[in-house]
Amino acid sequence: MVQYKWKGIFLAGMLLFGLTQSIQAQNVINGKKIYETRCLVCHQADGGGVPNMNAPLDGSTNVVGNDISRLVKIIKNGFKDKVELDGNYYSNDMTPNPDLTDAAIADVLSYIRTSWSNKSSIVTLAQVKNANKGNQKKNSK
């Protein structure tokens, strides 16, 4: 009996693990599609960007870092702060994406955080919603 119990827990665990894995995979697959239609033009297929012009996402400390709300804001509003990113400056203006849903933003961020040499965590819908709240508060101040 004990043996069955452990088997059950093990199977349930496997199932849960598989499920989250496939959610993760779906996340990243959707994100890849969004990346190809909206981001690849500037950040390139290899995520390496264009020197002095379009920032690289592969190997970027910000992209794999913990400040999810900054990333969400950049995707939504575009980015032309021309600030130093990992020791370099980029001259182009990044296009805003006001029409992307929160789920789509979570997907594209999941894709760029886990692709090429980037090995960071995926971004969940809840994290994007949280980030929005935080960004709104900052804006209304």
């Binding site: 190809e36 239609t37 909206r38 690849l40 033009v41 500037c42 390139q44 297929a45 290899d46 390496g48 960007g49 264009v50 020197p51 002095n52 012009m53 379009n54 690289p56 575009g78 032309k80 021309k82 400056y89 001259s91 182009n92 203006d93 990044m94 296009t95 805003p96």
Partner: protein
Amino acid sequence: MKKIIYFLFLFLFCIGIFANAQDNAGLTLPAGFKANLFAENIGGARHIAITKNGIVFAKLNRANKQGQSIVRLEDANKDGVADKITGLANYGGTGIYLNGNSLYASSNEAIFKYELDNKDEVLNPLSPVTIVSGLINRRQHESKSITFDKANHIYVNIGAYSNACQEQDRTPGSKGKIPCPILDSAGGIWKFDGNKENQTYGDGMRYATGLRNVVGLDWNTQTNKLYVSQHGRDQLNTFFPSLYNDAQNAELPAETFYEINEGDNAGWPYIYYDPSQHKKIVSPEYGGDGQKEGASNFINPAVAFPAHMAPMAVLFYTGDQFPAKYKNGAFITFHGSWNRAPLPQEGFFVAFVPFKNGKATGEWEIFANGFAGTIDGAKVTSTNKAKARPCGLAQGPDGSIYVSDDTKGAIFKISYNK
């Protein structure tokens, strides 16, 4: 034993010659030409200028590790490789030009003037004269490239800080502004007095307009005319997918090379040049559909190059070293594309444009190729992996030409041996 050593030496000698002849610093060149690395790793080198004694001055995009942004390179032992490298200044930028003993250099907002002594050492490295200042720099298309006519006037490019003068830059569906207000202070070539101090917009004149971003320009001393190479607009496919697919965007619009007369308008942002239709086509931001032709008062290019390859410098060849066909023709460096994606990136080369009776024939050919290098034997087609990206161009006193690279900062010397 002696014989063996003798043969061994002969063998090594032959390998040496063979390797040298084959290598050409990794470049592919027409028969009879050879190339070597004059310098390496000096920092991203934009434009270059060479004195009559063969001293090379390179303008760096940003100050290098030594905190210097103009590098002086001398080949004291005359072996074709710089052996005495010093520097000055600390502002990044693109333009550098030698006018007699005066060395002019530009930041992304201003033009400064230095004087050289009879050994081509800079006399006033810490106190240049400010010739022009206050030029628009909003990072996008910020390079201020410079050239001179024979009457000591400076021509400087002021690039448009925009892709297609949309209300919201690089935003799908955003309309083009009518008229485009950027053109009042950018998107053209301005002319200033080469001697007068402290000039700004009010002191100069807009010599030509409708030029999105000209990084390469040179005065044709044969015909007394300015020539410029323009970077054409980007992203027709991403903003107007119903009109242009990826393959069409990769070939549209042409990178254009113009002969410029005072008052000329090349049409940016209202039109672009379609190299296969040979027509000026109305930009989609201004109601174009890929076919509708633009106004005829906009000038036509002298040569149309493939899209997105980014022409960086123009040099009219006046030397006697190269075969006769090159005399008074134009060399143009190409930086390599990014907006051909998802198709492979291309154009890391130096092109040659033949001239006949003072006019471009309309033809062009690749002169030097292979700057991007290879990875595991395959040609590099990702711009961020290119080993070198051709940028500056200048002619040495012996008629060799020099090509700079603004990734790590190599300088290639290309010569012809009869």
